[in-house]
Amino acid sequence: MRALAFKARVLFATRFAEMAEYRAEVVIWMLSGTLSLVMMLVWMAQAAAAPGGQIRGYSAPEFATYFLSTWLVSQLLVVWVSHELDFQIRQGTLSPQLLRPVDPMWLHVASHVAERLVRIVPLLVMVGVFTWLSGASFTREWWAYPAALGLAALGFSVRFLYEYAIGLLAFWTESSASFQEVVWLVYAALGGMFAPLAFYPEWVQRVAVWTPFPYMLGLPAQLLAGKATLAQAGRGALVLLVWLAVFWVVRLIVWRVGLRKYGAVGA
């Protein structure tokens, strides 16, 4: 057990060192995820121009809070493992990793966690600035924050696993990048990046609740905006746990099958 902890520590420290070298890139990546911010501005203008200064119970500052929350949560949910896997598999650099007595997935996990830590400070700074600029105001209920964080952590794990599985598609196809793009679009749509889920047509909402997306993105955002209850958070957590189990198994299967193919063709 101690050996495992030691390995994890060294792994993490090197990944952190790597990520720290990429500090400029981290900031750039953060600034490129602006869909939430764009939608925020558009909806704010809409609300300001609407009769009563609100649309479906959201005033301009409330839209600001909601979309800033989706921005914040989406920043915590960032996963790039599918691109990396796609690259590694196609370049053949996966092979050396297979020689080590540790599932390569853990290396990727370590990278992501390390990157998140590098990201935290600039992230909070930016959120502060945007909050001040837009007039948003986050909820005062203390429990919303750990609840949102917990949901985000679960959401990140679910996302990591399905993105990993998508990346593994590179064992079979050159198009895993296109597929990843489509999945991202669905995630953004059903996660509530374009508007709070309640704004969508009925049928879209009914479909959405069967996917993990609203619970990993929209729900934590609503919690931070003060528009969701603890009970809802609890239910959301349960749903995400189920999805976590599902994708854990999916990933494992795809990995095993893929490795067999990879080995057959020649690593």
């Binding site: 995820g33 558009v42 809409q46 649309i55 198009s175 296109s178 679009l185 953004a188």
Partner: protein, 262 residues
């Protein structure tokens, strides 16, 4: 001049051949294009789908659709012509392949900008044009308006190219940073909507600080007939200024790479 045209033909031929080697990619790319347009339309329709909403920032649905069409078209232009080249710059600097480019007796900026092509994203261009055509069919578009739109879009493409080139040129210094152009993608996301859909201070930023308005809103305005003379003139001027500016910056970067003293 004729020589450079011939070179473009050769480059296109070479990259087309290389890409056709990967046939399976095509289906995936079409999927991604359709997904992109689906989601963009979703955003727009939710906005208009709210009870009592017929206008966003003074633009009707059809008019706003024009802007979305130009947005898709521009995404297509970037994916097909611009991005495949610009992404190679950072890579070339890192691997040292930029040396080979600099050893060739043709202008390096030309080489770097036209060398590659991504045919697979061609559907994006068609989708964009299709959207523009569909939206315009429901509006009164004059031939003069169409011509103005085409020319203004031409200068819009130049603006986009210059911004991309300017950002990619920083790779000569920030060798590891391969995603600087993502900054542009981030800001460009605002071009999905007409500039008037944004709060007033933001409109100012999107017009005078980051020329996003000139890329999609201005050409669309030429088609809706709402175009002001000021913006119409400003567009080609900005394009020309940016072109000269990024040309200078490129040459400065190459001189720095080869450590030519100033």
């Amino acid at each position: 001049m004729k020589r450079y045209l011939r070179l473009v033909r050769i480059f296109v031929g070479a990259t087309l051949s290389a890409q056709l080697e990967y046939r399976a990619n095509f289906l995936g790319a079409v999927l991604a294009s359709l997904g992109e347009v689906g989601v963009t339309l979703l955003g727009l329709s939710i906005l208009f789908g709210q009870p009592g909403v017929t206008q966003v920032g003074g633009w009707s649905f059809r008019e706003a659709l024009l802007v979305t069409g130009f947005f898709m078209l521009t995404e297509g232009v970037i994916s097909v012509f611009i991005q495949p080249n610009m992404s190679k710059i950072a890579e070339a600097v890192r691997t040292g392949n930029m040396d080979f480019t600099l050893l060739k007796p043709i202008d390096a900026q030309f080489n770097v900008s036209t060398r590659n092509l991504n045919v697979l994203r061609f559907p994006d261009l068609l989708i964009g044009l299709g959207l523009i055509g569909y939206a315009a069919s429901g509006l009164d578009v004059t031939p003069g308006g169409a011509l103005a739109a085409a020319m203004l879009y031409g200068s819009a493409v130049v603006i986009v190219y210059c911004i991309y080139l300017g950002l990619s040129t920083t790779a000569f210094w920030f060798v590891k940073t391969q995603n600087v152009t993502e900054l542009f993608s981030g800001v460009f996301g605002a071009a999905r909507f007409p500039v008037a859909a944004f709060p007033v201070p933001v409109r100012f930023v999107l017009t005078f600080v980051l020329p996003v308005a000139f890329i999609t809103t201005v050409p669309a305005q030429a088609l809706t007939g709402a175009l002001g003379g000021g913006l119409a003139l400003a567009s080609p001027l900005i394009a020309a200024a940016l072109f000269l500016g990024t040309r200078w910056f490129w040459r400065y970067a190459v001189a720095s790479y080869t450590s030519a003293s100033s």
